[in-house]
């Protein structure tokens, strides 16, 4: 089974973001999505710590210590970009102004539930950050993640076992095996399979039914 590598997953998702969208990218693979939006397509990246119009990482000799993304990595500001404080930044999120949020996840369920912040209810010290605000507030939530855990357990499931971040929020899932739309009342519907991946293989790696269109 061939499938997408992480770069190809990020590129596949970036392909689906139209010009003009305001987009928040989470930490990890989601951050990579920004690198694959074509330069001639104006997509405005939002960072929860008060940046609108975020640009790529700077050259090593051009780092501004005052300018970091949600993962605290150095970034740049595009011409036209702006800064705001945290309450305004989350007003953009909670107020439904962000067209798309892309997050990673531990599990996504067939009803759109996402679990991505704590691994058990007795987690020693859970860290939620902005995940719940983004899940509840963005106009649409897409998840980008490996199809299974490192030890092969499915991450597309009927019901999340881990504590939820937001119920019923996920619209699409991009994995190394393909792209899956979540259709209310139905569940995961295959949009695309990665090169060399069959429906049977993707189904065998999933804990929920994959419907075909």
């Amino acid at each position: 089974m061939q499938g997408f590598d992480r770069k190809a997953m990020a590129a596949r998702l970036a392909q689906d973001i139209p010009e003009g969208w305001y987009v928040n990218l989470g930490i990890g693979i989601p951050t990579m999505v920004g690198d694959y939006v074509p330069m001639d397509r104006e997509v405005i990246l939002h960072s929860e710590n008060g940046i609108l119009g975020m640009g790529p990482a700077p050259a090593k000799d051009a780092i501004d210590p005052w300018l970091v993304n949600a993962g605290k990595q150095p970034v740049t500001l595009r011409p036209g970009g702006s800064y705001c404080h945290h309450a305004d930044s989350f007003a953009m999120i909670r107020g439904g102004h962000i067209d798309l949020c892309v997050l990673g996840a531990f599990e996504v369920a067939a009803n759109g539930d996402i679990a991505n912040w704590a691994t058990s209810e007795n987690d020693t010290a859970p860290a939620v950050g902005g995940a719940m605000d983004l899940g509840a507030g963005a106009k649409r939530l897409w998840v980008i993640m490996e199809h299974t855990t490192k030890d092969g357990r499915p991450k597309l499931v009927e019901k999340c076992a881990y504590p939820l971040t937001t119920p019923g929020a996920v619209k699409r899932v991009y994995t190394n095996l393909g792209v899956f739309e979540i259709v209310p009342g139905k569940g995961f519907v295959v949009v695309d399979l990665a090169p060399g991946v069959t429906l049977e293989q993707a189904q065998a790696a999933s804990g929920a039914v994959l419907h075909t269109q």
């Binding site: 008060g50 859970p126 902005g130």
Partner: protein, 226 residues
């Protein structure tokens, strides 16, 4: 003449009492008032509740304040990060109370406190364990949880420029929580990289109007942050 500029850290910290709730600005290291935190360690107040997005790293700053046993409770969104060793030790040993708040809810709770709004409803955390025990209501067919304003006795903020009336500007993403924390506390202390003469800040570009600021102290953060 109004002059909020103080010359010493002792003057900046004067009057902070044991048991205070202290709001501490910054998102990671950016916009974090390191020198004010060091001064609070010197000042000696204890039994503190600290509100800060992260729970300190290494064994300096907020982490040192916690290690010295001066923090009873921490309210934050993301306590666990690379190097948050002191937090993890104390939390595991049961020596630190923790209240986890979604980041946007935390910011809005302080904005609400500063704006005289005692509570508000948000969809954030509905249907999750962080909504347990909170009042829920439905508006226009959607469920929301009630969140209370979060007020500080003291706010420690970092700004780029400040003047003797307490007007502040911030640099790039160093703004983050600082303006809402400045609004939300009875005593707001700002460390600024640059002092400006009254009238030199462009009025349209003031980020925090001086009404929200009690004291201003100049701190040279060195060439890395110039």
């Amino acid at each position: 003449m109004i002059n909020k500029i103080v010359q010493s850290m002792a003057d900046a910290m004067a009057g902070i009492k044991d048991g205070s709730t202290v709001l501490i600005g910054g998102f990671g290291a950016v916009g974090q008032p390191d020198e004010l935190i060091e001064a609070l360690i010197e000042q000696g107040a204890t039994d503190l509740t600290c509100v800060c997005n992260n729970a300190g790293t290494g064994r300096v700053g907020l982490a040192r304040l916690m290690e010295l046993g001066r923090v009873r409770k921490i309210i934050c969104s993301f306590p666990r990060s690379a190097g948050s060793v002191v937090f993890e030790e104390l939390y595991r040993a049961g020596k630190l109370e923790l209240e986890i708040v979604p980041q946007g809810t935390m910011a809005e709770r302080m904005r609400a406190a500063g704006a005289g709004v005692p509570a508000f409803f948000t969809a954030t955390s509905v249907g999750t364990i962080l909504a347990h025990g909170k009042e829920e209501r439905e508006f226009n067919g959607r469920r929301y949880v009630m969140e209370h304003a979060l007020k500080g006795d003291v706010a420690l903020v970092e700004a780029w420029e400040g003047d003797r009336w307490g007007n502040l500007t911030y640099r790039a993403s160093g703004r983050n929580f600082n303006p809402v924390m400045a609004m939300a506390a009875d005593l707001t202390i700002a460390q600024v990289s640059h002092l400006r003469e009254l009238g030199d800040l462009v009025p349209e570009n003031v980020h925090t109007p001086g009404i929200f600021v009690s004291r201003v102290i100049h701190v040279d953060r060195g060439p890395d942050w110039a």
